[in-house]
């Protein structure tokens, strides 16, 4: 059974449903270069301790000739020309890691809404950068299509992911997406404005003293 949760778009339905995953995620091949540790270099904080993608990895990434697929940001940028017709026909989405920069994506793809799907991959569930990335994609860059959380995605973060603008969640393979559905409704009336409901509680309700 699919482990993908997709938010429903109309209020007459339940919050979300289990949906088939129609997208193939393209992975980078493993790197032979040792991970570069960049601790202490301020400008590279976002990369601290994380691997950077090598040219070899990008060149070696295998992209099947047909079908809907989500390619890594680095591959999308480097091989965009070759993918152009498929991008235009809506067959290509992009995924990025939490340490990657949205500015890199936008620089290479000014109109994000050409992409039918963007996925943010979270390596460890406790990495809260994913929430800021989702928020920025929706509010700063005006992205309107499917925004998917992938990787170490667990039910106890779903409520926050939803509020940060994510519309689908690929639950970690060893966990039940069916069980996870329940956590999307943990809180009925959140206090602060966020992506899914921009108005804070004090402008939504006339609160009595």
């Amino acid at each position: 059974m699919s482990n993908l949760i997709q938010l429903n778009t109309t209020s007459s339905e339940p919050i979300a449903k289990i949906a088939e995953n129609n997208w193939l995620t393209i992975q980078l091949p493993a790197s032979t270069v040792e991970a570069r540790k960049q601790a202490g270099k301020v400008v590279l904080f976002k990369l601290t301790g994380e691997e950077t993608v090598t040219d070899t990895q990008i060149a070696d990434t295998v992209i099947p000739a047909t079908g809907k697929m989500i390619v890594p940001l680095s591959v999308f940028i480097a091989r965009k020309e070759a993918l152009l017709s498929r991008i235009t026909s809506g067959e290509i989405g992009v995924w990025l890691d939490t340490h990657e920069l949205l500015s890199d994506l936008v620089k290479n793809q000014p109109d994000l809404n050409v992409l039918p799907i963007i996925a943010v991959h979270v390596e460890r569930f406790a990495d809260g950068r994913i929430f800021s990335l989702g928020t920025l994609l929706r509010t700063r860059y005006g992205y309107k299509n499917e925004l998917r959380a992938t990787g170490d995605v667990l039910r106890d973060q779903l409520f926050f992911l939803k509020r940060s603008g994510f519309s689908s969640f690929l639950i970690r393979a060893d966990r039940s997406a069916q069980d996870a559905l329940a956590s999307l409704g943990d809180f009925t009336v959140p206090y602060q404005g966020a992506v899914d409901e921009p108005r804070p509680v004090f402008t939504r309700y006339n609160r009595a003293v």
Partner: protein
């Protein structure tokens, strides 16, 4: 104080339900230790040395009598009949059972309380001045803004999993009592030249392993923008703060590494997009929340009371208590009272359930049913009539809550330390107790005068040792417990970080070391000088020389912590 409406109540009720299910899944093996960890931490539950520790939120230190009665009942029913008030103005239970925490939370929810975000890598309890709303030197009562920020920060989705903990303090006085410079964000409210409420914003302060005082990121921020400006700061931090090393993950490290100018540029660039976004605070909301903190219905009483004056004149013990534990009030005929949780020889900040009931009753009878927790770990009755002070003193004294030592050497700020905390390198409570017993002479304590002694059992600095006039830090050296001493730290507007006087000491040596520091002060002080003034005038050298004279020098090369 703030009273919940149905929206607030629903949120804490739903939290109880959510956390109960998370606990159930953990106990059923559906959540791993690692997965459950941030969930329980963000609900204040630590796994400690002997048992779990549950930290209950006391937002900006405000409690009602009803709440304190409930807390007392909880310590009796689910713990060992006492609780520990912390330097974050919260209450900690040292012995709850993990399985019972959901039930405790359900009980707390019945009195509008919770343990939300009292730990974990998220925005923590917002703290402020314990004399908020009643201090004569107050410019702005910070509590309405603190409550608005509490609501905004509760389950803020974008900041649910930050690189590290995030502490905000607010203050509305000229004389800072909330240590705003030692917080990730500090906000000082003031009235600007146009007569409007404005905020001076500090960022990147913090104690812990790397003590740094905050830098001013904005001299003037209009109050409406408090939330969106914080969002800009925390977004930059969330995206760029280090996540590879927990010891370098606080915002202060990022601010220091980038430099305040570059950090400010990034924040301002972010804020350009967020300014005037829906989270901008409305006039109506500030008014609504402000109504919860309106002035108490004070009686129109004389500024002086003959009975009170007579009691002062005839009863030296009462006079001593008034001198140390009674504070000025903006309302004529009223005073604020600090009930000392620092009796000599007891763990600082601890209160038994019986004491909590007593304080709750005192608050109900004499102080409009409200009280506060101070970051110095004492309890405050904020609105007591002068004519009631004697009665309050007698009752407090009978309950062991009237040690006249507020602001004196034995009013020690102290974390739970190695007796309870699994992070600690060394015990802190026995050190506090030993020092209190060394100086167990009230006349002598009064002669030494104003001084702050702070103890932390490890470099996480829960006991705020860096800003103690005397700071004591527990360190581990090859498995044994040693204590490093700093002097010259200070909280307040002229905050400073203390300087280490030299190599560490064993526990047994500590009362003697503090004695020697005091001896130097008593010998060198001028008539007007407090301990901190003498240290600032003379520097560390004379203190160091006296402390490390011959009888201690044999030990000095054993530890260089």
């Amino acid at each position: 104080m703030y009273k919940y409406d149905e929206i607030d109540q629903q949120i804490v009720d739903e939290r109880v339900k959510q956390y109960s299910d998370q606990t159930r899944r953990y106990l059923a093996g559906e959540l791993s230790d690692e997965e459950f960890r941030p969930l329980r931490l963000q609900n204040g539950l630590y796994i400690q040395r002997h048992a779990p520790m549950l930290r209950i939120a006391v937002p900006y230190g405000m409690l009602s009598s009803k709440q304190l009665h409930k807390l007392a009942d909880i310590t009796k029913k689910y713990d060992k009949d006492y609780g520990h008030f912390s330097t974050r103005q919260n209450l900690q239970l040292n012995w709850p059972k993990l399985e019972e925490v959901p039930v405790i939370l359900a009980e707390l929810a019945t009195v509008e309380m919770h343990a939300i975000q009292t730990s974990g890598n998220c925005i923590r309890n917002i703290t402020t001045d314990q004399f908020a709303g009643i201090a004569p030197d107050e410019v702005i009562d910070p509590r309405a803004m603190a409550e608005i920020m509490r609501q905004w920060s509760t389950f803020h989705p974008e900041f649910a999993l930050l690189p590290r903990k995030f502490k905000i303090a607010v203050s509305g006085t000229k004389q800072d009592r909330a240590i705003v410079q030692a917080h990730d964000i500090g906000m000082e409210f003031y009235t600007d030249t146009a007569g409007k409420l404005a905020i001076k914003v500090w960022v990147g302060g913090g104690l812990g392993r790397t003590p740094i005082l905050g830098s001013v990121i904005r001299e003037h921020l209009e109050w409406q923008h408090a939330l969106t400006y914080c969002e800009a700061i925390i977004r930059v931090y969330n995206l760029h703060g280090r996540r590879d090393n927990a010891y370098k993950a606080r915002i202060k490290i990022l601010v220091k590494a980038l430099g305040i100018e570059e950090f400010k540029n990034q924040v301002e660039a972010e804020w350009a997009h967020l300014k005037d976004a829906p989270n901008t605070i409305t006039e109506a909301e500030l008014l609504r929340v402000g109504k919860h903190f309106e002035t108490m219905p004070y009686e129109n009483v004389a500024a002086n009371d003959a009975g009170f004056d007579a009691a002062i004149a005839s009863n030296p013990a009462f006079a001593a208590w008034v001198k140390r534990c009674v504070h000025a009030h903006k309302q004529a005929g009223y005073r604020a009272v600090t009930l000392s949780l620092k009796p000599h020889g007891k763990a600082p900040g601890d209160a038994t359930s019986a004491q909590m009931h007593t304080v709750a009753d005192l608050a109900m009878q004499y102080s409009f049913g409200e009280l506060r927790v101070s970051h110095e770990q004492n309890l405050i009755l904020a609105d007591v009539k002068i004519s009631d002070l004697f009665a309050v003193w007698e009752k407090a004294r009978a309950a062991g809550l009237a040690t006249p030592n507020i602001g004196l050497l034995t009013d020690i700020i102290c974390c739970p330390g190695g007796d309870f905390c699994s992070l600690a390198n060394a015990k802190s409570i026995p050190i506090a107790e030993a020092i209190q017993m060394q100086f167990d002479n009230l006349d002598y304590l009064h002669d030494i005068g104003d001084i702050e002694l702070n103890i932390s059992g490890c470099m996480n600095a829960c006991g705020h040792h860096h800003v103690g006039h005397i700071g004591i830090l527990g360190v581990d050296k090859d498995g044994s417990e040693w204590y490093q001493v700093t002097i010259g730290g200070k909280q307040g507007n002229d905050a400073s970080i203390g300087a280490v006087i030299g190599p560490s000491f064993s526990a047994d040596e500590m009362p003697g070391v503090v004695q020697k520091l005091i001896d130097v002060y008593v010998k060198e002080r001028t008539a007007e000088e407090r301990f901190i003034d003498t240290v600032r005038r003379l520097g560390v050298a004379p203190f160091k020389a006296h402390v490390y004279n011959k009888d201690l020098s044999t030990k000095t090369d054993e530890v260089l912590a």
